[in-house]
Symmetry: none
Subunit: 436 residues, 2 copies
């Protein structure tokens, strides 16, 4: 097959352990028109796989009651758990709840507690709900509320007939994810849908391409339990170690030795696992050492600081920095030498070093880090092409710079994002080698 | 509704002008497992909408012949053009072609020209095809090759019976897109599928909730040509005006008067259209006036600068700024008064004003803008809850501040993102009211 995936035998092994299955129905003309990427279907796919719940079809249908009913009719012949996303909003084309009620000929009743909850949420934002929000309080008479902790649209848990469960969720991914984790997963566990889970451990790498990584760990890719699969995401190479187990503890016994082998094979290239990021790993190292960091950003325009401060508590080690987009700012706030700027240009090793040293001394931090580069699409030359980036790194002992050439093919955002990742990775390696 | 979408009437009017329709079937267990985001479905949705080809359902099915056949059986009852992606590779679980042949009881024949083409492509990479590639040369006897200029798997154009067209494509997006543009679109034009295109104009709003916006333009939401549909995205309210027309010029004649009416009704709340963003609109206004901007960021940590510099050419008006995450940086680099910091705290109107004035004077810019707030999840108090943000705005004439309370429910990233949007919007309104 052309993309990642289980083998056919794999599918039957992994998915067909049960004789009940789930089916996903995403409602929204915006999905058919391609205005919204259907990340909800991907999320559900991952979650159902993780929980070991078989799932064989996904359907996307527009905001049209006749066609939604046709999709329901087909799905409830094939599956016992129907999961709907979208169509729970306040406007006339949000039709999921009322169409389901109509299909199963159930009356809708108004839930005053939903109305109250909506009013409270609006009040927090100093607003009042509009009459159109009223319909969000209507559910089929035998349905239970599936609470939405952050948005106005609740979902429902409904058994319109024996052996059929319907869950509905709003299309807004953040609301959907929270409702799924907080209410739906415990409910499905309770109802015996979750028999064995698939446990994954994702190891994350920087500074090594996916193909090289795959070659380095080649014998492990042939394992069957756990399985080891390489993939790439946002310039990062990753290895997913997966096993199906009855508990986290059993899973860890299978996964841990393989993780150790991989870490041993790959050394410093592996920067973390699961939801660790370059910025969280750098932050933890700084905090551990009681050291501080300041940034001087040119082409990233604040993106490195933005990433460092995504971590709640980053004020413990991140002091701030200077966005020196204009050369005058490099001179005035970072003491970059105008002669160096003139002779070597703003995108040069020496200017990167002076920026890093300047921000370190101005902010009185342990470390100073700088980025100056050509993000494009304009501004490249033969000697300094688009994607050329210099990263400066100043410690109490010395100041260095590093050159990186990022492929210009994927555009300005990509170059800026990778520049910040390279900077974080360089600092991480310095912190691990005890250079300050 | 929570995401983009037509009204029901809108959908039927816009999409049902023809009595033939297309249907999308994406084949791949990797899609069901959520390992791959289904961007092919989005691409097809956009393309079919652009070409005015009605399309009401999308189905995802795994690499399983029985289930693929069930999906075919359902789809060919509902649609006259079936578009398949995925399952054309060389491995045993790539089953699309052979399953289609089986379903329609057509014999497979080998095409030597495909084998030759595959061999040539492998030779270019100094490799030889493996025996498993042989199956990629098999097509139903009456099918035509849909050439793949860059990959090994060709697709097909097939009429297994009258009034039914099947197109197949590999799942690799790059190959699929090229094959779609080079062969499928001209073919569909030739076959009379492309009669008129749908043209959209999306108006974008800040400072008005979707429901209020919908109320303000309520009579327009009932229009049938063009249709007007509200939706929300990242805190922004949007209105999509759509019409089906033979040319862009005709479409504009229908859309422009409605756009004018909406802009008249909503005034300054409408900040732009289509791919304009708050940062691009602010940038264009600054450039037009020959003015410059500097930022002082606390809780956003660089995110405002990062957004401003996403625009290539932003160095014309954006000088840079100071990320004053620590209070010492607010004092040392922005001349914020330590007494004000002590008495009012870092998150206060007066500190926001001093930060804005400080960065404006340090960087010698026309405008200084600052953000200080509590991004959470920790750090909130009764009087200063998570989500409270002050934005300072300094012009040559005076300095002001604005308070915003962002809902804490959607988390730290959301608060930081909306803080930056509020800041850009405040500056936009000042620039439009000629305050500098």
């Amino acid at each position: 097959m052309e993309q990642a995936g289980y083998s056919v035998e794999g599918e039957s092994k992994v998915l067909e352990g049960m004789n009940r299955s789930a089916e996903v129905i995403c409602v929204g003309t915006e999905l058919l028109l391609g205005e919204v990427l259907n990340s909800n279907a991907q999320f559900l796919g991952q979650e159902l796989a993780r929980l070991g719940i078989p799932h064989f079809y996904q359907t996307v249908v527009g905001d049209n009651p006749t066609r939604i009913k046709r999709a329901i009719a087909i799905a409830c012949q094939r599956a016992q758990l129907l999961i709907f996303t979208g169509g729970l909003g306040p406007t006339p084309d949000d039709l999921t709840t009322e169409t389901l009620a109509e299909f199963f000929q159930a009356p809708l009743v108004q839930h005053p507690e939903i109305l109250e909850d909506i009013a409270q949420k609006f009040a927090q934002r100093n607003r009042a709900p509009s009459p159109s929000n009223d319909k969000q309080a209507l559910l089929p008479d035998s349905a239970a509320i599936l609470p939405n902790p952050i948005g106005s649209a609740p979902g429902m848990i409904w058994h319109p007939r024996p052996e059929l469960t319907i869950l509905t969720f709003p299309g807004v991914p953040k609301e959907f994810h929270l409702m799924w984790q907080e209410t739906a997963v415990p409910y499905l566990q309770d109802q015996g849908w979750v028999t064995a889970q698939i446990y994954n451990r994702v190891l994350r790498f920087w500074g090594i391409p996916e193909s090289t990584l795959a070659d380095q760990v080649a014998p492990l890719l042939a394992l069957t339990n756990p399985t080891v699969a390489p993939y790439a995401s946002r310039g990062e190479a990753r290895l997913r170690i997966s096993t199906r187990a009855a508990s986290l503890e059993t899973a860890n016994q299978v996964i841990a030795p393989i993780e150790q082998q991989i870490r041993h094979l790959c050394g410093l290239h592996c920067f973390g696992a699961d939801d660790q990021t370059l910025e969280s790993v750098v932050g933890a190292l700084l905090q551990e050492k009681g050291q501080t960091l300041a940034v001087a950003e040119s082409c990233t325009g604040g993106g490195l600081g933005q990433r460092l401060t995504r971590i709640s508590g980053s004020s413990e080690y991140f002091l701030g920095g200077v966005i020196s987009y204009a050369n005058t700012v490099k001179q005035d706030l970072l003491q970059v030498d105008p002669v160096a700027l003139n002779q070597h240009g703003a995108v040069s090793a020496i200017v990167a070093e002076q920026m890093a040293a300047g921000v370190r001394s101005q902010l009185n931090s342990t470390w100073g880090i700088s980025i100056t580069g050509i993000a494009g699409p304009q501004g490249g030359t033969d000697t300094k092409p688009v994607g050329l980036v210099y990263i400066g790194l100043a410690s109490p002992h010395h100041t260095q710079s590093f050159e990186r050439q990022i492929s210009p093919l994927r555009g300005r955002d990509w170059i800026r994002q990778l520049s910040a990742s390279h900077a974080l990775d360089l600092l991480r390696r310095q912190l691990l080698s005890n250079q300050a």
